[in-house]
């Protein structure tokens, strides 16, 4: 008979809780990647995750490391507060686009500005999922939400913010990349990005942010797969994937 080798299973970086996300929501994929990365870098037992306010607010139950639930938008400040007193920990925040790009943009920018040695996992699903589908700063032009019922209109609502591009201009930031999880290949790429970010943090090289293009099937009103296709067709063109800042480049070469 054949021997059997387990090549994929639930990460031990995740607890046994059932994720509270809607069926097919890519939040779950991103959770797996974070968990796997912490395990593979062997830092899980000195990691502290900061839950923010959004659909992921409850993820303090989902990761198996120490967790802190932060006020809406303030996760990077909470992370700073911890990292400065516990410099040997590995700290990540997990923030949605409402949380980071809207109410919490100041805290994100200033964590980068101060070169805080933390990693931000930024989940951009172009909408406020938790509160029922309001417009986010990253909502695309024409996209219908409960507070842009006629579709986002540049004249009334302005043009969507590009966070990775903006944060890349901050002198204090070390590594910023935008990734997507729309197919297995990109999931692997995204994990590589996370690994790079957490490695930089492990080596005390400063601030890292990985932006994930994510979906919200429920509030977009699409099936999970259609939501992924919509993200590929509409979000990625406006939010191109790639490395926006890498201060370690000169170093390495």
């Amino acid at each position: 008979m054949d021997n059997v080798k387990t090549i994929y299973k639930k990460s031990e970086g995740l607890s046994d809780f059932n994720l509270s996300y809607c069926p097919g929501c890519t939040h779950g994929i991103i959770h797996k990647l974070v968990a796997e990365t912490l395990v593979e870098l062997d830092v899980l037992d000195r990691s502290i995750g900061i839950s923010s306010v959004g659909c992921s607010a409850l993820n303090y139950d989902f990761f198996s490391c120490d967790m802190v639930q932060a006020a809406h938008g303030r996760a990077p400040a909470v992370a700073t507060g911890i990292k400065r007193v516990k410099p040997n920990t590995i700290i990540f925040t997990y923030q949605g686009d409402g949380d980071l790009a809207s109410i919490g943009i100041a805290e994100a920018i200033h964590a980068a500005h101060r070169s805080e040695n933390i990693t931000i996992v930024f989940v951009n699903n172009a909408i406020y999922g938790m509160t029922g589908g309001q417009m986010a700063p990253t909502t695309l032009i024409g996209q219908k939400t409960t507070t842009s019922q006629g579709g986002r209109d540049a004249h009334i609502h302005g043009l969507p913010l590009r966070i990775s591009e903006m944060m890349a201009t901050i002198p204090g930031a070390t590594y910023i990349e935008r990734v997507s999880v729309h197919n297995p290949q990109h999931v692997q790429k995204a994990k590589k990005a996370l690994k790079k970010a957490f490695t930089i943090q492990k080596e005390n090289k400063g601030f890292t942010l990985i932006e994930f293009i994510s979906t919200c099937p429920v509030n977009w009103g699409l099936t999970p797969k259609d939501a992924i296709d919509w993200a590929v067709e509409n979000m990625i063109p406006y939010y191109p994937l790639g490395v926006y800042k890498d201060k370690t480049v000169g170093e390495e070469s």
Partner: protein, 356 residues
């Protein structure tokens, strides 16, 4: 150690270092700037953390983080800055985290002014944020008392797992007085912080710092647990001072620097043959209603004196239970009452008039 002459803000900063404060996060605002300025230099010298945050909102959330990680942590600000921190403060209370918050009050509302005031009494004692929580709130009248209370406050915060507010005003922040940093202060019995999310789970379950409870029945239990804590504070941890109370005919109720000014007024009144005592709350939450029960029978009138339009009056009314006539004298907006004014206010009453 000999007493050292220090500015209030700097003395309070140093007191925190004495108390083993491991991190300070704050944002500049007058009249407390010397406090973070002092710490920006001295925390680093002690190998401790200092961050000038981008805002008060960030500062209080940094405090939340460090407190959740089990560190002794402090922030300071002044009135409008404290208003900005209200969401963060309710989170800290909700997650049952110990932290020390110094409020060097200035005139309000809004941007107001920068001169001494007690206009944040409501904001401090009623919790300016959402939900059922309170801050253990201490109101020293001198630098020595401020230093002693701050040294103890970190223990108190740890003991109750609750934020402690040090309520002072611009007078305390800006004055210089000789202070003895080596005075003994009460030590509280503290348990190890096994609940802390410090990323060091050696042999323990993961820890979670949180104030979110979606199930109302669970949140209700959480609230009842908090309430039990506040009831315990109310019952066993009121602090106050009764001054010159023997045969007192009238009692001035005043806290913080106003109590101090009232001391001078009482000296002046004594010279005039008026028997005037002072009931000085040291904790403004829990409010020392027990002190009112201890007033001698000779007392015929209460005079509340504040640097506000009368924010403490509510608590005095509650503590007084309708027993004695309550009068009020206040200056507001940064105006500091002089002892003479208090004397006049007392004389008006003992002369029979009620200006309340």
């Amino acid at each position: 150690m000999a007493k050292v002459l220090m500015k209030g803000n700097e003395a309070m900063a140093l007191a925190a270092i004495y108390a083993g404060c491991e991190a300070f996060y704050g944002y500049p605002i007058t009249p407390q700037n010397e406090l973070p300025e002092y710490l920006s230099k001295h925390m680093a010298l002690h190998g401790k953390a200092f961050v000038q945050s981008e805002s008060e909102v960030a500062a209080i959330n940094m405090v939340y983080g460090a407190a959740g990680a089990g560190a002794r942590v402090m922030t300071s600000s002044s009135s409008p800055g404290i208003a900005l921190k209200q969401e963060g403060i309710t989170y800290i209370a909700g997650a049952e985290l110990p932290a020390v918050i110094i409020n060097v009050m200035r005139g309000g509302p809004g941007l107001g002014g920068i001169q001494p005031s007690q206009g944040d009494y409501k904001q401090i004692t009623r919790g300016g944020g959402n939900g059922d929580y309170y801050l253990y709130s201490l109101a020293p009248e001198s630098l020595q008392e401020a230093v002693d209370l701050i040294k103890e406050s970190f223990d108190i915060a740890d003991y109750f797992r609750n934020p402690v507010m040090i309520a002072v005003d611009g007078l305390i922040g800006q004055m210089m007085e000789p202070v003895d940093f080596d005075r003994e202060v009460p030590k509280w019995d503290l348990l190890p912080k096994t609940w802390a999310a410090d990323g060091n789970p050696q042999g323990r379950e993961k820890n979670i710092i949180n104030s979110l409870y979606l199930d109302p029945l669970v949140l209700e239990q959480h609230n009842l647990k908090l309430k039990a804590k506040y009831d315990e504070m109310r019952k066993n941890h009121q602090r106050y001072e009764l001054i010159n109370m023997k045969d007192a005919d009238i009692v001035i109720v005043a806290y913080g620097s106003v109590a101090r000014i009232a001391r001078t007024a009482v000296e002046m009144l004594t010279e005039k043959g008026v028997k005037c005592g002072i009931l000085k709350p040291i904790t403004i939450f829990p409010y020392p209603d027990q002190a009112f029960a201890e007033l001698p029978d000779s007392v015929r009138n209460l005079l509340v004196v504040e640097m506000s339009t009368g924010q403490m009056l509510d608590d005095v009314k509650i503590a007084n239970e309708g027993k004695l006539p309550i009068h009020f004298y206040g200056r507001v907006g940064g105006v500091v009452p002089e002892a003479e004014e208090i004397v006049q206010a007392v004389l008006k009453i003992v002369g029979g008039e009620n200006n309340g």
